[in-house]
């Protein structure tokens, strides 16, 4: 058995298969709850556990794939560049809203997590949960979070945002399209943005813009706030 596994290609093929299955299921049903990342994890993890395949064996290939997280973060500049005029036109409301949103996310995670008696490592892992996964991974390292748990938390956040966005806008009486989009992108990154795009063109564009702005600003805010809170 080990002979078949002792190659980076094992991890690469397993990851690709899990991702493609996850993506196909998501495309077929278009339900946010069927998140391709979560489906891929639900396929891959039991296989490794059942066949008692060590994580290190999987990671021979897995590391080659996750290496591309760096370039994948860098290219987030492209959608941001294409939407930067929207930011310039509404600079103060967008920047103000995103900063308040980041503070709200970090503080609510800290207080609700502690109130529910969550393990401190889990609370720390949750701090970057509102932003896009590649940046959240980097920040999770900095605040002593557990990276895989952060990834799952980011996914759950995106799913909740995508499902609940229209109701949240209604409850909080958010009617302005720019406000809706910025709120969705700041709170629930790209997964929420998929729902914002369905809500309308302005909402989608603003939500997409907020992913990049919130990601960058969180890199400045979180390490400082972390020193104050923990």
């Amino acid at each position: 058995m080990m002979v078949f596994l002792d190659s980076p290609l094992f991890g690469i093929c397993l990851t690709m298969a899990g991702y493609i299955i996850g993506l196909e299921i998501y495309k077929k049903f278009k339900l946010p709850i069927l998140n391709p990342i979560l489906i891929a994890l639900i396929i891959i993890i039991p296989i490794l556990l059942y066949f008692k395949i060590p994580l290190e064996t999987y990671n021979k290939g897995g590391d080659l794939i996750s290496f591309f997280l760096g370039p994948a973060t860098v290219v987030l500049a492209v959608p941001l560049y294409k939407k930067i005029d929207l930011l310039k036109q509404n600079f103060i409301p967008i920047l103000g809203g995103v900063i308040v949103g980041i503070l709200t996310s970090i503080l609510s995670c800290t207080f609700i997590g502690k109130m529910l008696g969550m393990d401190l490592n889990l609370v720390k892992s949750s701090l970057p949960k509102s932003i896009t996964t590649p940046i959240a991974i980097e920040l999770s390292k900095q605040v002593e979070g557990i990276i895989p748990i952060t990834i799952v938390m980011v996914a759950i956040t995106g799913i909740s945002g995508a499902i609940l966005a229209p109701f949240i806008c209604k409850i909080f009486k958010i009617e302005n399209k720019i406000a809706k989009g910025i709120a969705i992108g700041t709170a629930s990154h790209a997964v929420g943005t998929s729902r914002a795009i369905e809500m309308g063109e302005t909402e989608g564009a603003m939500s997409g813009l907020a992913i990049g702005v919130a990601g960058i600003l969180t890199v400045f805010i979180l390490p400082l706030l972390y020193l104050l809170l923990f």
């Binding site: 997280l69 500049a77 940046i135 990834i151 799952v152």
Partner: protein, 114 residues
């Protein structure tokens, strides 16, 4: 196409180098992203030169998170008994964050119009 990826990798590398020289714990890839944004804004790099390669990566962004996510295997003991708490916290904080952000943006827009 290879030129597109070459530019993207060079900017990533540049970000990594810069991050080692500054005193703030700023992740290399994010510095790379900011450098890339400035290069695009200042038209030092034309968007047409990188857009296709960037979009190919962005379309399949999720696959790169799967291997780090699988690492949750080594943290399963921490998860047991905490799954509901985690889900509840994530849902509540998303509702609060989205609501507060939206209200703030809306308030700032309306104030400016007056």
């Amino acid at each position: 196409m290879i030129k597109q990826y070459a530019i993207i990798f060079m900017v990533t590398y540049l970000g990594e180098i810069v991050s080692k020289f500054i005193n703030f714990p700023f992740p290399g890839p994010v510095i790379g992203m900011l450098i890339f944004l400035i290069l695009l804004e200042k038209k030092i790099i034309n968007i047409d030169l990188v857009e296709e390669g960037a979009n190919t990566i962005l379309r399949n962004l999720a696959i790169f998170f799967i291997p780090p996510g699988v690492g949750i295997i080594s943290a399963l003991n921490l998860l047991s008994g905490n799954v509901l708490k985690i889900a509840l916290t994530m849902i509540l904080t998303t509702i609060i964050t989205m609501g507060v952000t939206g209200i703030t943006v809306q308030y700032l827009i309306n104030r400016r119009r007056k």
